[in-house]
Symmetry: C2
Subunit: 331 residues, 2 copies
DNA sequence: TTGCTGTGCTAACCCGATTTAGCACGGAGC
DNA sequence: GCTCCGTGCTAAATCGGGTTAGCACAGCAA
């Protein structure tokens, strides 16, 4: 494992000083370098396949082309992986690398990870949440460049934020049902104040002009959804369409509908949110509004590296992925 | 954003030279430092909450306490996230951070990412694959410390490798069926030579003394599994148990069984591999052998940071997660 | 007194880059 | 001949640590 080629080697090879080599390679035009010397340096660098030591450079310039991602969970949800992927790829496009830290939501771990990253001179942070939610800024982050990723500060934003446009998503989902004639529609899931998306989606549904005929309250998992929808189908008002607040709820709803002898979409249309893998796997496949996780990660990196004049909250559009779970109401 | 406290500041505050401060803080006992001076330095460091600049340190020591993860896909599969999580947390335990790179399997991108990491002085690499498979070592990695993560070199290993113990997993799955009396068992999925796990699982199944009554060939996705199992149930030999090569196949099998009027587990027992989220969500919930992804990531970090005397291949045990999809055969 | 030994510390160099300050040289103008 | 200016470069400082070599002093033996 031969030791790396240094700037010194390049300079020697080109017959100039380290200073000159540095000027040429960092492209500083304010210093007077002859075309000849410049060519010799560039050639030497190429021939030796010189790569600058970014630690040494960072020591001087205080930039490392490295971004820290602080996440509550890297992967409780598969979603989180998409955020990371979007961020990693965007970082690479900007010639940056991503170092990641998982905090499990623990403030202590959070502080430690941020410090560990600062010790390594990261240029800035992505402060990410798996679930879109309102969050508080950890004190250690104060004074350092960062972007809210899939979360929002309580009050006015001191930094930019990237979140999915859940409100429009609500409108999309509702319109997918009304467009084919559904009028009696139930909402499945519980619009908890904790879950920011729930409120937004509901607002979007209302904005679409839909009056929800019934709300089936349940936690956002297949089992509770199955139970709640089963009893709703047995005793609740009759509906022709279901808006499920996520795909896992939709899975529970499918199971309940099937046991109740209802066929999707002939007897019951279903639309959902998230567009997880599940949506494509169910029979019939599930129409769902996709969370743009990779794009969230990507845009957050963009905003961190090319910050706007003043902080902005960017709402990334969500798209309806139409599949086979919606049909016009029968009769 | 006040500039960081440096070793110089600590030394000044303690009334000693930078050298002495460095000796105390790095814990070198071969230099003679009086107890008094030592205490003053430690106190100063504490009071100023000094944290060493790891770039500066790394420049000298050539270690950065940073590990690079090279992955084909950070998240095509939710699994990948688990590997990352396991690695991140293990790294943190060892006072290391993880920087990640995604290559999409592209050798060019791979080389670039590895170089980018080397430029930042990472101490070593985890060369990871989402799917367990035999892999070739990228040339850029040669000469640097690394560990194979969820993949294996073709021949003799020049570095350690961490893989799931798929063979025992096969035995576990098969035994789960035979233990309650199943004798006519079908295997669903296609034992492709590309997919290392398939061969191992099959070998494990055979090692359990099970003769597979039929093999239902299909790709490892719900839709093709549904089609293949449907036609098998209609025309194939009668079986009481199904071993599905992953959970997505099991989902397809559930759908097929249901349409054929067979009830799981009363008429048909099902066991599967992976133990993805899906397994817990299906009705009845699915018994599955869990892929230990987080543990793979964690062990890989351990092996990288505390390398054994000679390279070893570590097979991480897989555990059977028993749920409701297995019952004794009827009659 | 001289020499030796051990204790406790520090000056100076090194890692590999960037950056500031300024030197050497040639030609033009007076 | 002397100054002045522009051109083209480099010496040296700097970033913040780790590390080597060696200095100053005290105590003790001969």
């Amino acid at each position: 494992m031969a030791s790396r080629v240094t700037l010194q080697d390049v300079a020697r090879h080109a017959g100039v000083s380290r200073t000159t080599a540095s000027f040429v390679l960092t492209g500083r035009r304010d210093m007077r370098i002859s075309v000849d010397a410049e060519q010799r340096v560039l050639r030497a660098a190429r021939e030796l396949s010189y790569r600058p030591n970014l630690m040494a450079r960072g020591l001087r310039t205080r930039t490392t082309h490295t971004i820290g991602l602080i996440s509550d969970t890297v992967t409780t949800e598969p979603f989180a992986g998409d955020i990371v992927r979007g961020a990693v790829n965007a970082a690479l496009r900007h010639d940056n690398l991503l170092v990641i830290g998982e905090t499990s939501g623990d403030r202590g771990v959070e502080e430690r990870v941020v410090q560990d990253m600062l010790d390594r001179g990261v240029d800035g942070f992505l402060y990410a949440s798996t679930w879109t939610r309102v969050s508080r800024l950890p004190a250690v982050l104060r004074g350092h460049p960062f972007v809210w990723l899939n979360c929002l500060p309580r009050g006015r934003a001191s930094a930019s934020a990237v979140i999915p446009d859940e409100r429009s998503a609500g409108t999309l989902a509702a319109s997918a049902l009304t467009a084919v004639g559904h009028e009696r529609i139930a909402l499945v899931g519980v619009p908890s104040p904790d879950v920011w998306a729930a409120g937004e989606r509901l607002a979007g549904i209302r904005a679409a002009g839909v009056t929800v005929a019934a709300t089936v309250e349940c936690d956002w998992w297949p089992e509770p959804a199955y139970t709640a929808v089963s009893s709703f189908l047995a005793t609740g008002p009759s509906v022709t369409g279901l808006i499920c607040l996520n795909d896992r709820i939709a899975l529970g709803a499918y199971q309940a509908a099937q046991e109740a002898g209802l066929r999707v979409p002939d007897d019951l249309s279903v639309v959902s949110f998230d567009d997880s893998d599940l949506a494509a796997w169910l029979r019939p496949s599930l129409t769902s509004v996709a969370l743009p996780h990779a794009e969230l990660g990507g845009r957050a990196v963009d905003l961190l590296l090319s910050p706007p004049a003043s902080p902005l909250v960017e709402r990334v559009p969500m798209r309806l992925h139409e599949r086979a779970s919606i049909a016009p109401p029968s009769s």
